[in-house]
């Protein structure tokens, strides 16, 4: 692994571990926020390897994640929509499902 890439991965790993520690003392709503933000950062880290689906997922996360700070109901709806979007994406990736099985 090239140094730059490893450094970027450590940034993500550090983010996740520090989040685990800090969430002991922070508002519980930041737990789900940190998780989806970590997904966004993970997709970002994969760079060119990320599929258009994953890049689209990241864009959705970036567009909706900060609602946690302004509107709890909106953030909840955003997470629900994200889950459904992932189910759809996984369906697209499953030949069985595509064929109606």
């Amino acid at each position: 692994m090239r140094l730059e890439r490893e450094r970027a991965l450590f940034e993500l790993v550090g983010y996740m571990v520090t989040s685990a520690r800090n969430l002991l003392d922070e508002t519980p709503m930041y737990g789900p926020f940190r998780l989806v933000d970590a997904v966004s950062r993970l997709v970002d880290w994969t760079g060119e390897d990320a599929s258009p689906r994953l890049r689209g997922l990241r864009e959705r996360i970036e567009a909706g994640k900060t609602s946690v700070m302004t509107d709890a109901a909106e953030f909840r709806a955003f997470l629900d929509e994200l889950v459904f979007a992932i189910v759809e994406m996984m369906d697209e990736l499953s030949p069985d499902v595509r064929q109606g099985r």
């Binding site: 970027a8 940034e11 550090g14 983010y15 989040s19 800090n22 970036e62």
Partner: protein, 173 residues
């Protein structure tokens, strides 16, 4: 820019353009912070300005609240040993925090006046940030402020007034 326009117009920015902020500009922001009031005029604050991308990356790794990729981060620190020496227990446990917050407000309003976006962050690992910034014994980072040209500006959140702003007393009974 009118002060009121800055107070009402400033937003917390969490996405930045990849444009550097030059040192004279950063100096002006910290100059504004230095003119904030401090309890007993203690001025025990310390400001560490970080623009090295590698160091910012390391700060990001231990600062979950540091969102986006800002070209500069300013750590608002306090010499808590000096705060205690000058202000006793109140100085260390309260004034140091209040002073850092007032300095941060000056700084972010000055940044807005310069066309810059900022976000004040408390979600970071204090010990790890201290190590990355090589803070001296007794000095702690209390706030991190990301600084850069805004990539997106969020809409203003609702400001509550009912039950928040009161005259004379809170309970009338």
């Amino acid at each position: 820019m009118e002060l009121r326009d800055a107070i009402l117009g400033r937003r917390s920015i969490r996405a930045f353009l990849p444009e550097p902020v030059d040192r004279p500009t950063l100096d002006r922001l910290v100059e504004a912070a230095l003119w904030a009031p401090s309890g007993g005029n203690a001025q025990t604050w310390r400001f560490v300005i970080v623009t090295d991308p590698n160091r910012i990356g390391r700060l990001r790794a231990v600062s979950p609240g540091l969102l986006g990729d800002p070209p500069a981060v300013i750590a608002v620190c306090q010499d808590l040993a000096a705060s205690r020496r000058l202000g006793s227990t109140l100085g260390e446990t309260f004034l140091a925090i209040a002073d850092a917050a007032m300095a941060a407000e000056n700084l972010i309003l000055a940044a807005y006046d310069e066309g810059l976006g900022t976000c004040v962050i408390a979600s970071f690992h204090r010990g790890a940030v201290g190590r990355i910034l090589r803070l001296r014994e007794g000095v702690d980072a209390l706030l991190l402020i990301s600084v850069g040209r805004p990539a997106t500006v969020p809409p203003p959140p609702v400001r509550q007034r009912d039950g928040v702003v009161l005259y004379e007393v809170q309970d009338e009974a």
